[in-house]
Subunit: 176 residues, 2 copies
Amino acid sequence: MSEPDLLRAAIRDVPDFPKAGVLFKDITPLLKDPAALREALRRMEERWRDESVDAVAGIEARGFIFGGALADRLGIPFVPLRKQGKLPWHVARAEYALEYGTDAIEMHVDAIEAGQRVLIVDDLLATGGTARAAAELIEAQGGVVAGFSFVVSLVFLKGGEKISGYPVQSLVEYGE
Amino acid sequence: MSEPDLLRAAIRDVPDFPKAGVLFKDITPLLKDPAALREALRRMEERWRDESVDAVAGIEARGFIFGGALADRLGIPFVPLRKQGKLPWHVARAEYALEYGTDAIEMHVDAIEAGQRVLIVDDLLATGGTARAAAELIEAQGGVVAGFSFVVSLVFLKGGEKISGYPVQSLVEYGE
């Protein structure tokens, strides 16, 4: 259990961020600790290396940190999934529900090739809205979702239910 | 000249983004091409490997892609420099001028140790406002700016003048 503990110990609880009553899981101490950062990336690489993944899609912004490094390790393309209005070329868009209203993520329409197997990477699985929108976006462009890799999963928020049917890796889980 | 050409050929011009009259340098084709992405990172790694760099600071959001992968390659910490209100812990802030008004970037106050040599990574050097604010932020926290690494520099915008005195690497330059 030393490997999971190394990662868990490098995540900091921040009360009342981004709003009162929320206990935020801060991964910046993990980014600051090269042993923990490498171990997180090593476990991602090990899990997906033999899964015929053709591209890594990272969700803005923290998903870029892990997704970029993982794409480099695997030697495959990196696809940025961005907030609205950030990508300069022609985009596809997928909306998802927030507590109040909706938000959306976008991907360039030429970011993936039809049939490519795409791994979606983000730092956090919470309610799963963004993750599901990311999968919809990739599938709408003809891609195949190979799975998801998260640093942290807040299991009690049941985000996994929104992406059931896909393989999911979570390096650190906070339970029920 | 094959190496610079590989990178330059993977950057796409997008007219009128984010507003009319601006010719945007889109790096997403470079991210999509594993040979170009690896070559960019290889050149960053080679330039800074023997410069006693203690940490890589990446500027949100595209700086996270290259900065995270470079920190992984060098085996050193990654420090996210983020837009206002995104970091959960105690932050230091540096403001910089925009065409109209000001913006700011933030860093956790415990992100670096006093005396650490920090390499600042971003995808683009334009007017240099963000880059200079990043250096101020790191120095105000007791860090030493080892230098800057950019994928693209828009030389004609003279951003280099705002960070003169620091070592600067630019993989692709668009001149006068």
